[in-house]
């Protein structure tokens, strides 16, 4: 059929012309509807709403306020005659100690520190029992010098999150959205910063996590950080701390430090390695016991000593979750001044179990601050610990009430600021307001009665404490709980959307484009009705209106879209993999999805993708070798080989994530510790500039499509743009490496102009070519009969199209009208689109990334040829392999599924300052360049070497794009479900949550690019082809 209507006849009648006009309008309308479907219904809106729903329940965020507490400005006027503002006497309250030795024993569980008491008759002590008696002994024998209490951590019980709590007094959340998004340093008010700014000398020994949290706050000469990574090593770190801590306690070191922080990791490592019930744990605890006894002896009279655990450990010795064993740590304070008291003499003996009289870990912050004469950090939610302020005899309730009042006012001030910053209404805090009123009036009463008895002060203390407790409870509810309802709604919405994409991509067998208007109409109506119903219901039910409306909008849309398929149910099939390639695509997607439930597979995703892509490559090679047509066999096999080599070659570019060490060596930059390219790497862009246009040209020449605009674009403009990119990166390297010190920096920084001109070529020249170019054909009249033994075969088996087609049109029987490039009209015309995006995407990559992205582009061409040689256009193979490639080359362009690998500096390639919206767009192009390139190339699968008048082509393109999107929605669904399931997993923050966020962002981005750029771009390409050949009938 292709042969007949192949050519625009010069003598077209006016009837033909009106017909053509009509079908042109028809096509454009159909295309617009498909585009609208892809933007509005199919993926983007539904997925965006679903992801919003899930994240609103999952990513509980706390707003970090930049405010700092000031020494001279107590939150309330002081009542005890103390003059605020002096670090010497104490900022808000008279201080008790000049110096402090703070010892953190990682994973010191409470029951390690108290004597073993059998719960039942025959219970025997474990290895971790009775090995560390010193804390308990001192608390019982000299209660004025020491006390020991259970110390409850707020989950997650990971060291990093705990240190934040122990220094800021605030609760942990998944994301502390603050000014410093990428870094780990604490950017809210905290005790260490207060000490540093007050001129105190803080020395730190041990676990280096402190240094990423508080960079530069410690005395550089005396501080000794140790690597906390190696959990198999029980002793190096502890011995190192011991070696350096005892000399500092000598009298001659007085004045060299004010606060000494020692962080021991041996107990934690023994737990991780052996578990708590092991002789190694006994040894370790006994060693700690000896260390503390020595310290007590060496301790100065003016110093406070604190020993605490940051969390406990479970039965296997691991931690991170919120089980009792993991949150129950111990806190012990000691001083030779003997100022500690008990409100009840029975409290002298430390509680037998951690459920009795526990204190929160955040309570340490106000306690330490006031004891050391510091202001309480602004964001603190903890309360002062009784023993430290109640006086020796346990009756000084006036003092206790005073410190409690100070803390309560600090918390109240914080709550006010927080509500103002987040524009919260009063409803969330009404119960605290009531308690606040009671506390204030109780305090007033106590102040007014001049001869107030302890009882009145006790009441005032109790009232403030009640306020602080209630406030903490509300904050925990607000920040530290996953909202399972909205998470479930999000997962259901994702599942429903997945079903719609699956049905559209794999169930529909007829012409998708013809079916789309009905789906669009039903879907839009369903979404609108669902949204309205949700909004109405939420006014009755006690749920958030936005969430309920979003949920029912997606649900309504999904049900309506699926319902729209009902009338055509005969044309549907159950979407199970029925072919070999379909099965392989299903299997590899499934393996990836299941693998994301394991942190190892998530960490090693790049290697897995190489493995899967090579599997596809080898099987495509095998399949090509089985082709009967010799040309197909050779060309298919050659392209498969090229695909395999390109894939393996780009795997040499690696940027390792921390968890991959030591089994991975980064090659993306000059060295593992740098983020600049090596000198030799600047040659890669030149290589790309030479080879890539040549290879694209080769594929165009092969089907005789290297004509007209292709020559101008690929032959000239693309080469120019790529050469400019190479020059830009040489200048960049010269600037980074200071190769030519004699050239002023300003001259080199003019390179942004080069980058801007590359973008101008891509966007202006590229899109102009793409929009207005005619098909890449050459029509020639020839006298002789053209040779028929062309190098190419009939392109699709169901058509007789050939590269060289003869048409008997002219009156002279011997004259032949020959169209060069007929066979791949659609494919080459459309493939201009990915090539005009190439310069923009390559520009923002580092040299190494340009090499791999160019290999990605070559692999895309290989894939198109393989699919043609094996006639697999309608198989899910192409879209799924492209999705795998997008994911794979993401890693090969120097990224990982971790926030730390975002190359922020790519915003400054064409710009010197941050400019919105360009800077975020540039970072997006850099980060997801491979995803974008592959998504744009997807329609080419359906268009490569098909006859120009193939009916239903638009529907096939829509199917390919939907299959591509299907892969990413499967990944998002899997990572979301797994992140919800593993929400208490130790690696949630480091591995699962970043991967889930990345999957969501990639899904939305790919959907956006697929719809706007790819499907939108198809319009010009297909209209241009149809202007010459006419629209397909029917």
């Amino acid at each position: 059929m292709a042969n007949e209507g192949g050519v625009a006849r010069p003598s077209a009648t006016s009837e033909d012309r009106t017909d053509r006009k009509q079908s042109s309008i028809q096509f454009k309308a159909q295309h617009a509807l498909v585009l609208a479907f892809f933007i509005l219904i199919l993926p983007s809106i539904f997925h965006a709403l679903a992801i919003y729903l899930f994240c609103s329940g999952f990513l509980l965020s706390r707003f970090v306020l930049p405010d700092r507490s000031q020494c001279a400005q107590p939150p309330i006027e002081l009542s005890n005659g103390h003059v605020p503002g002096s670090h010497e006497r104490g900022c808000w309250h008279p201080k008790s100690f000049d110096k402090a030795v703070i010892i953190l024993v990682d994973a010191l569980r409470y029951d390690f520190t108290v004597p073993f008491r059998p719960q039942s008759g025959d219970e025997q002590p474990h290895h971790f029992h009775n090995a560390l008696p010193v804390l308990y002994e001192t608390a019982v024998q000299s209660p004025h010098n020491a006390f020991l209490r259970p110390f409850i951590a707020d989950p997650p019980t990971t060291t990093l999150q705990r240190l934040k709590g122990l220094t800021t007094g605030s609760l942990p959340t998944l994301i502390d959205a603050g000014s410093n998004f990428a870094g780990t340093a604490i950017d809210e008010d905290n005790l260490i910063e207060q000490l540093f700014l007050a001129g105190k000398k803080v020395v730190h020994l041990g676990d280096d996590t402190w240094h990423s949290l508080f960079p530069g706050y410690f005395e550089p000469n005396l501080t000794r950080p140790y690597d906390s990574f190696n959990v198999w090593d029980l002793h190096t770190l502890d011995n190192g701390v011991n070696e350096h801590i005892f000399p500092l306690l000598e009298p001659d070191m007085t004045g060299r430090w004010d606060v000494l922080i020692g962080h021991y990791l041996g107990v934690d490592h023994a737990g991780h390695r052996y578990g708590p019930d092991h002789p190694a744990m006994t040894d370790k605890l006994q060693q700690m016991d000896g260390v503390f006894r020595r310290m007590i002896e060496a301790l100065d009279d003016s110093a406070l000593m604190v020993v605490m655990g940051d969390h406990g450990m479970d039965a296997k010795g691991d931690h991170g979750g919120e089980s009792d064993d993991e949150v129950e740590a111990a806190l012990w304070m000691y001083s030779k001044q003997g100022i500690f008291g008990r409100s009840d003499p029975a409290f002298v003996e430390p509680p037998a179990i951690a459920k009795v009289r526990p204190v929160g870990q955040i309570d340490l912050v106000p306690t330490l601050s006031l004891l050391l004469g510091m202001p309480i950090p602004f964001n603190n939610l903890g309360q002062p610990i009784d023993e430290a302020f109640i006086g020796k005899d346990g009756v000084d309730y006036k003092n206790l009430a005073e410190v409690s009042r100070l803390t309560a006012h600090q918390i109240h001030g914080y709550q006010g600021e927080y509500a103002k910053a987040r524009k919260l209404d009063d409803s969330a805090t009404s119960s605290t307001n009531q308690l606040w009123q009671i506390a204030s009036s109780t305090w007033q009463r106590a102040v007014r009665s001049r001869d107030a008895k302890d009882l009145t002060w006790k009441k005032a203390y109790g009232a403030f404490k009640a306020y602080e407790d209630e406030n903490l409870r509300i904050c925990k509810n607000l920040w530290a709980r996953f909202d399972l309802v909205s998470m479930t709604m999000g997962i259901i919405a994702l599942l429903g959307t997945f079903a719609v994409v699956l049905a559209y991509a794999q169930s529909v067998q007829g012409d998708r484009a013809a079916l789309t208007p009905a789906l669009l109409l039903y879907g839009a109506a369903g979404t609108a009705v669902g949204g309205a119903v949700g909004a109405v219901v939420s006014s009755i039910a006690p749920a958030s209106m936005v969430q309920l409306a979003a949920f029912s909008a997606v649900l309504g849309g999904v049900i309506a879209t699926l319902a729209a398929l009902w009338p055509v149910r005969e044309g549907l099939r159950i979407p199970y993999p029925s072919t070999f390639w379909g099965g392989l695509c299903f299997l590899s997607t499934l393996l990836l999805c299941v693998g994301f439930a394991a942190n190892s597979f998530t960490i090693w995703e790049d290697e897995q993708l190489l493995f899967l892509l090579t599997t596809f490559g080898v099987l495509m090679l095998a399949s090509s070798l089985g082709q009967n047509d010799a040309a197909d066999r050779t060309f298919g096999a050659a392209n498969s080989l090229s695909f395999l080599v390109a894939t393996r070659l780009s795997s040499l570019s690696r940027l390792c994530r921390e968890e991959q060490m030591p089994y991975c060596m980064s090659t993306y930059y000059a060295s593992a510790l740098s983020s600049t390219s090596a000198g030799w790497q600047t040659l890669i862009p030149f290589l790309v500039a030479l080879a890539l246009p040549f290879i694209i040209r080769y594929h165009y020449i092969r089907s005789k499509n290297y004509q007209g605009s292709a020559v101008i674009w690929v032959g000239i403009a693309l080469r120019l743009a790529l050469m400019l990119i190479a020059i830009f990166w040489v200048l960049n390297a010269a600037d980074d490496g200071d190769w030519y010190p004699q050239i002023p920096k300003d001259t080199l920084s003019q390179r942004t102009i080069i980058a801007q001109s590359v973008l101008a070529i891509a966007v202006a020249a590229g899109y102009a070519t793409y929009v207005w170019s005619p098909p890449l054909l050459l029509v020639r009249t020839e006298e002789a009969i053209p040779e028929t033994n062309s190098t190419s075969k009939p392109l699709t088996v169901d058509s007789n199209a050939a590269i060289l087609t003869t048409i008997n049109d002219a009156p002279k029987p011997r004259n032949k009208l020959v169209i060069l490039g007929y066979a791949n009209t659609h494919g080459t015309r459309f493939f201009l689109l990915p090539t005009i995006w190439l310069p923009a995407l390559l520009l923002v990559q580092k040299p190494m990334g340009q090499g791999t992205l160019a290999l990605c582009a070559i692999s895309i061409l290989n894939l198109l040829e393989i699919i043609d040689a094996n006639n697999l256009r309608r198989s899910p193979l192409g879209p799924v392999v492209l999705a795998l490639m997008g994911s794979y080359y993401f890693f090969k362009t120097g990224h990982q599924a971790a926030l730390a690998t975002i190359q922020w500096e790519s915003a400054f390639i064409p710009l010197k300052t941050i400019r919105y919206p360009w800077s975020p767009i540039l970072v997006t192009l850099n980060t997801f360049g491979a995803h974008i390139l592959c998504a744009i190339a997807v329609p080419a699968i359906a268009m490569w070497k098909v006859p120009p008048k193939l009916p239903g082509l638009l529907g096939r393109i829509a199917g390919a794009v939907a299959t591509h999107v299907l892969f990413y929605s499967a990944l998002t669904l899997a990572t979301v479900v797994e992140a919800a399931w593993l929400r208490r997993h130790l690696m949630l923050y480091r591995v699962f949550m970043p991967r889930m966020l990345m999957a969501s962002v990639v899904l939305l981005l790919v959907e956006f690019v697929s719809a706007i750029v790819a499907i939108g771009g198809v319009r010009w390409s297909m209209v241009s082809v149809a202007t010459v050949f006419g629209y397909p009938e029917g």
Partner: protein, 242 residues
Amino acid sequence: MSSQTPNAKTASALPPFKHVDILQTPTSLLYANLQPVLLLSILLFSFKTLVQDPVNTLLGLAPTVTILQGLYCALCLPSTNQAPTTTSKPGQKKKPAKPAQDVWAKVVPALLSLLLVLVLSTPILYIIVILFGAPLTTHQPHTILLAFHLALLTTPQLYYAHGLEAQTWYKLVSLQLPVDELLGMSLGACTGAWIGAIPIPLDWDREWQKWPVTIVVGLYVGAVVGKLLGGYLFKGWRIKLS
């Protein structure tokens, strides 16, 4: 759908490919059934040393497996130029004359097949293993020996039974030939090795996760399972790649 027409056309032009039956003599039947047991027991007995010292163990196993595979070819398989019809009649009496010549007619192709394993299959499979992501700069002896064992289990029987003709091999690698014991064993070995790579990245910190132990285990187990499945359950099936 539409691709069936030309396939059928060309398939009729080429000689029809049938699945290969093993010889029906008692010796060959005995050995054909003994071979999986031998392969698995080798793996079982050497597993501990394989984990401790993969290179030397794989090197030490190589001659044994080579002999086992050579015997399998010579004893159980009809060689390329033997018409399969003559062997499929167990009742037919063979000429008792020239037993020595008969033996050589089997031993020489078997030796040639093993030689081809060394010079042809091993390099190709080595490249494929590298393509799949095997370490490029380290562990070279490991990878080469893995490729050799992979080649030993996948290819000698195919060389012996199908010869070296390009058309046949195109059909073989594109899995267009009907499944039999030989193809089953090769495919099983490849699939087993593929599956064997999966546990490597897991953070279980086991000694046996080191390169290439899991793949070797998958390879041997896969070969035996594939041989049994191909020889009995799926005999005569055709896998359609496209």
